[in-house]
Point group: C2
Chain length 415, copies 2
Amino acid sequence: MKRGTSRDIRTANRYEVLRQIIAASPTSRQELAAATGLSLATVATLVGELLDLRMITEVGFEDSAGGRPRGLVAVNASGGALIGVDIAETYVHVELFDLALNVLARAEEHMRPGESRPEQVIGHVSAAVGSVVAQAGVEAARVLGVGVSVPGQVDRSTGIAEYAPNWDWHDVPLLDLLSEHIAYPLYLDNPLRASAVAELWFGAARGHGDTVVVNLGTGVGAGLVLGGGLHRGVSNSAGEWGHTTLVLDGRLCRCGNHGCVETYVGALGIMQNLRELSPRSALLHPGDQTATIDALAAGVAAREPEAVKVVRDTARYLGAGIAVLVNVLNPEVVVLSSWVAARLGEPLLEEVREAVARHALKRPLAASRIVLSPIPTDPVCLGAATFALEGALQSVGQRSTKRTSPARSRTAPSA
Amino acid sequence: MKRGTSRDIRTANRYEVLRQIIAASPTSRQELAAATGLSLATVATLVGELLDLRMITEVGFEDSAGGRPRGLVAVNASGGALIGVDIAETYVHVELFDLALNVLARAEEHMRPGESRPEQVIGHVSAAVGSVVAQAGVEAARVLGVGVSVPGQVDRSTGIAEYAPNWDWHDVPLLDLLSEHIAYPLYLDNPLRASAVAELWFGAARGHGDTVVVNLGTGVGAGLVLGGGLHRGVSNSAGEWGHTTLVLDGRLCRCGNHGCVETYVGALGIMQNLRELSPRSALLHPGDQTATIDALAAGVAAREPEAVKVVRDTARYLGAGIAVLVNVLNPEVVVLSSWVAARLGEPLLEEVREAVARHALKRPLAASRIVLSPIPTDPVCLGAATFALEGALQSVGQRSTKRTSPARSRTAPSA
DNA sequence: CGGACTTCATAAAGCCCCTTTCCTAACCCC
DNA sequence: GGGGTTAGGAAAGGGGCTTTATGAAGTCCG
């Protein structure tokens, strides 16, 4: 049972104010107070803190119609840089952001199927991180942190990748290994939670209540934003909706079970849906998920019956799976995220809405909006970078312990 | 976005301290501080409050082995009474509790199938409430509140039963109607949340993290205790797991969909499982759920193959359904509650554990314990009474608004 | 049997957080 | 350039929790 302290309120408010500033930059203290529901005084204090941190700057005044003009603050984009690392089965994707969360540089490393040893992955990551820092030309001291997303089960406090199903990793001390190559503060979590936190800060969950972020990629899962924060579960593995049984005794899943949601709506599952509909379809690119999904998206855009049918079949499965989440969690928003959702886009969304409506109860259904992720870039990178941002913000509140020198961050902020 | 205030911390702490006192009565301030993680001073303050409210009393001292002996406090059982009302499809069950949550009196009213109008139900409720108060012989002023659980969708703030599927109620202002007959403070919610809060205060969720309370009765659903509190969802309808699709195109459910969990593991679903296994089984009491489940329980105890098989089949469905909750929510505890679970007991539990293990992922599975509800009485009544207790405790913190007379409770505490 | 030691409980002071209130600053308009 | 208006900061106030100090109530032992 974790107990809340008044400090947590402060931290939450600090997050909220910064979120709001990033979302509506430039903005005034008045607007912030209205948007957050905090008093003017509190907003002013928090804005002062953020100004001290050089995360935001004063950028002039609003035009006044009688009365003192409102001072405007905006994100100090050049006040620091954040790096998000999205480690996936076949690639490592790294993006460097300014504090307004604009992408300043990106790097992508492809991993061949054989490359599964931690050292190999770490090699790719550190190369890509080095690359984005060089590209963006930011001083090393400006990098506030690096968020790393790795599939599977992670322990964020120890930085250990406890289990990564795709590479059969067990208890790899990923953060320690990475810290030998990367001298910035590091934060570890998994892609489900990364994309959820991205939606929470910058996407469809912003300012809303409970939200479910459905990730549709090669792997499938759900990030849960409940009660204004990430729901992690007792062992930080909540959201494994992709390995939930959708069809009793259905398709064999790589997790060992049968009929998992992932085997019907993951990229490979969709390929299978296509294959079952028309084994020698021209849309099918065996062994290439991306190409197949792209072909499908193009086909749907051209109203090819085959493509439309596959998307509809997929949405039917997806709708049944999402209806479970809607009924059980009663969220305000359901976000479809990750690359498969992005490419299939609106047509998928429409079909999913219909399918969910067929399976969910009226009341929870009526309370939920199902939307595509409004985040234009890789949500996992963005979310990972957000973990770094949260980390940088967290340490603000910490006071130095009595009679001791001020606390130093875990890794010195110098390349 | 609800924002937390320091007042909420106080309320949570007050709950926590009282919970602890009820659980380990008598106990000392020292033990309370250790158990809650609060400082001695805070515990002393809260204990003082509860003493002032006459909810607890000082009951002597602990033996000392050198040093001042610890003062002991215990629940003041006679300090007040709480009433829990469990309105179900076929009965109204009412229990009156003392503050230690012992049952002092109970009353049960049966409802014939035709009786579905709100006035009829209210008649039963007020009769039963009157009965328990008379039986227990408590002064009316001592009744701190009445918690009412009604199936379906409720709005607890307005006290409206928005939708009750079994009677086809729509927007019945139940609390207003009840307050014409019952002069105690009233609190409305649904059985899922009632049994969840019962587990949170007095059962398997006590002191643990995220917990899922699986209700197996005629209706089926899950109460969610996440982050130390009830998860309600955006429209207070979270937990509708019973109407989640378990078998695509499966049995027709009364909710209109096919293949809902409830149609396989609810009392009627279990009867159907039995019927499909052996249409003219001696265990089957057509039209009588209770008798059938009882017969099944007896059969399992006697190791009758037919009964064992039905329980196994049921557990297989149940396991698949619970595995979804385990994977998605990653709870620390899963509680099997309500009358079907209570009657089928250990044999069901064993089978369920095995079945869940077959469907859930290893990590979340390893983190969860699946248990039967340790609550010996009707958990819904207990939970409903707990809502009343929470309500009585809530008003402690409220200060009278400025320049006005002290706030009065909604219904005067006099019969 | 009374002082010394131990342990509990309450009171006081300090810190953190948020809000309300008051006052000055800054700008518009006439 | 004064009056009206609005912004923003400083101070005061209220609630909460913790640490520290002090008094209270025992045991133990000389």
